[in-house]
């Protein structure tokens, strides 16, 4: 799940909740999902360091990603 997807879903959830025509059970479920997505997005945003990888092509044409330092 990407941050973009989390944010889009969050927008959707908030809009639904704000529309006020949703049952309480459904609203609670949406709220819980929203909290989970919020947490996931915040966790990803909290990543301290950018990950740099380099791609290498093997002799048989397959690709391999390896981490690059710095």
């Amino acid at each position: 799940m990407s941050i973009a997807q989390d944010l889009n879903r969050l927008e959707e959830i908030v809009r639904t909740l704000e529309a006020e025509d949703v049952e309480l059970d459904a609203a609670l479920a949406l709220f819980e999902e929203g909290v989970a997505r919020l947490r996931a997005a915040r966790e990803r945003l909290g990543t301290a360091e950018v990950k740099v990888q380099t791609v290498l092509e093997g002799a048989n044409g397959d690709l391999r990603l390896s981490d690059l330092d710095g």
Binding site: I3, A4, R44, V55
Partner: protein
């Protein structure tokens, strides 16, 4: 006010310069005046020394100037030019103090013929790509707003990559950068770049592709003007940003890419979001989420309160009804009570323990009993027989 000076004589008080002072002053003037400039001319008498330095003259119809090109610059140029070769040189004018000679210190040399050929090739490729619609505005795809995986096609040890990593690290550290190493100049650069761009299409999850290099001379950017690289760039399946660090020149990849950036750093800024902005957006969403649920529960609470009121009302009605019924039943019960019969003049004999005496046989002669009448008991005794 002036008198003609006695040029034929020199007085002891006159200020006299040494030759060194003169050349030194001239050097200051000349070298302070000029920035490196491009000069066009014809090479004459080029001598390449074993040290690698080149010495030659540069002339046109009206004038000639001495030039020197140190080995660290001459080794970048191919061959020492033959007499009569027309060239462009990038040089800083100066004075060679030991000989008091005006000379050019050349840092770059390009045969004009090569430039002409390069320009013609550029025009040819540009026309071809234009005809095939590779520059069409309609082709341009928007850059995804929150990309988390970005491919960077450039030299793995170049300044461009370092700049991209620095900017992305600051703005959007949750990003993953996948470096596809490629030569960006010199022999094989065209092939390497085209191949690297094709490779990008085979790496999963890539959302944006940056292709570029740091600033360089015009001919260093040749690969970015090549047909093969441009076509490979157009075939990349994700939105592309071209970042060929040369502010004044537009390369053909700049025209083919979905977005053009002046430098690799600028490309990185365009490619990724700013963590602080997204964080603010999350805060806003969190507040709205809480507010949304709050209003939703408030609504539910209100409904609950209304239900409770109705329930309460209904219960009261039931209770009222039951109370009436109880009252009615009580009245009926009352009417049936034997105590009410006493009101009408009946009396009930009871033993001291309260049990009723119903038969003659139960009245033992001389036995005490009580006679219950409407307003109380009367102590009584059976007549002795």
């Amino acid at each position: 006010m002036t008198q003609s000076l006695p040029l034929s004589q020199i007085a002891p008080t006159d200020e006299v310069w040494t030759v060194s002072q003169l050349t030194s002053a001239a050097k200051r003037v000349v070298e302070g005046e000029f920035m490196p400039v491009w000069i066009r001319g014809e090479v004459v008498g080029c001598k390449a020394w074993s040290s690698g330095h080149w010495y030659f003259g540069l002339r046109d119809r009206g004038s000639q100037v001495r030039c020197c090109m140190w080995s660290r610059y001459s080794q970048l140029a191919a061959e020492p030019p033959k007499d009569g070769t027309e060239v462009f040189v990038l040089a800083k004018p100066g004075i060679y103090e030991a000989k008091g000679e005006f000379q050019l210190n050349v840092t770059r040399m390009l045969p004009t013929a090569a430039i002409g050929a390069a320009r013609r090739e550029l025009e040819r490729v540009k026309e071809l790509l234009q005809r095939d619609g590779l520059f069409d505005h309609a082709r341009k795809r928007p850059i995804p707003a929150l990309a988390c995986t970005v491919a960077v096609v450039t030299s793995a040890d170049g300044a461009a990559l370092r700049d991209v990593i620095t900017v992305v690290g600051k703005r959007w550290p949750c990003c993953r950068l996948v470096v596809v190493n490629a030569r960006v100049q010199g022999d094989g650069a065209v092939h390497a770049l085209a191949r690297a761009l094709a490779l990008v299409n085979r790496i999963p999850e890539i959302e944006i592709c940056i292709v570029g290099r740091g600033g360089g001379g015009r001919e260093d950017l040749a690969a970015f003007n090549s047909e093969a690289v441009c076509r490979a760039l157009a075939a990349v399946r994700v939105p592309t940003i071209s970042a060929v660090g040369h502010e004044t020149d537009v390369s053909l990849t700049d025209l083919v890419a979905d977005l053009r950036a002046a430098t690799p750093s600028a490309a990185a800024e365009m490619a990724v979001a700013d963590r602080r902005e997204v964080s603010r957006r999350l805060d806003d969403l969190a507040a709205r989420l809480a507010g949304g649920l709050g209003s939703r529960t408030r609504l539910a609470a209100e409904r609950l309160a209304r239900t409770r009121d109705r329930l309460h009302g209904a219960m009261e009605a039931v209770i009222r009804h039951e109370r009436h019924r109880a009252d009615r039943l009580g009245a009926q019960l009352d009417a049936l009570s034997p105590l009410r019969i006493l009101d009408r003049g009946y009396a009930v004999p009871v033993r001291p323990d309260g049990s009723v005496l119903k038969r003659r046989a139960e009245f033992a002669p001389g036995a005490p009993f009580r006679l219950r009448v409407a307003d109380g008991d009367v102590p009584s005794r059976v007549e002795p027989s």
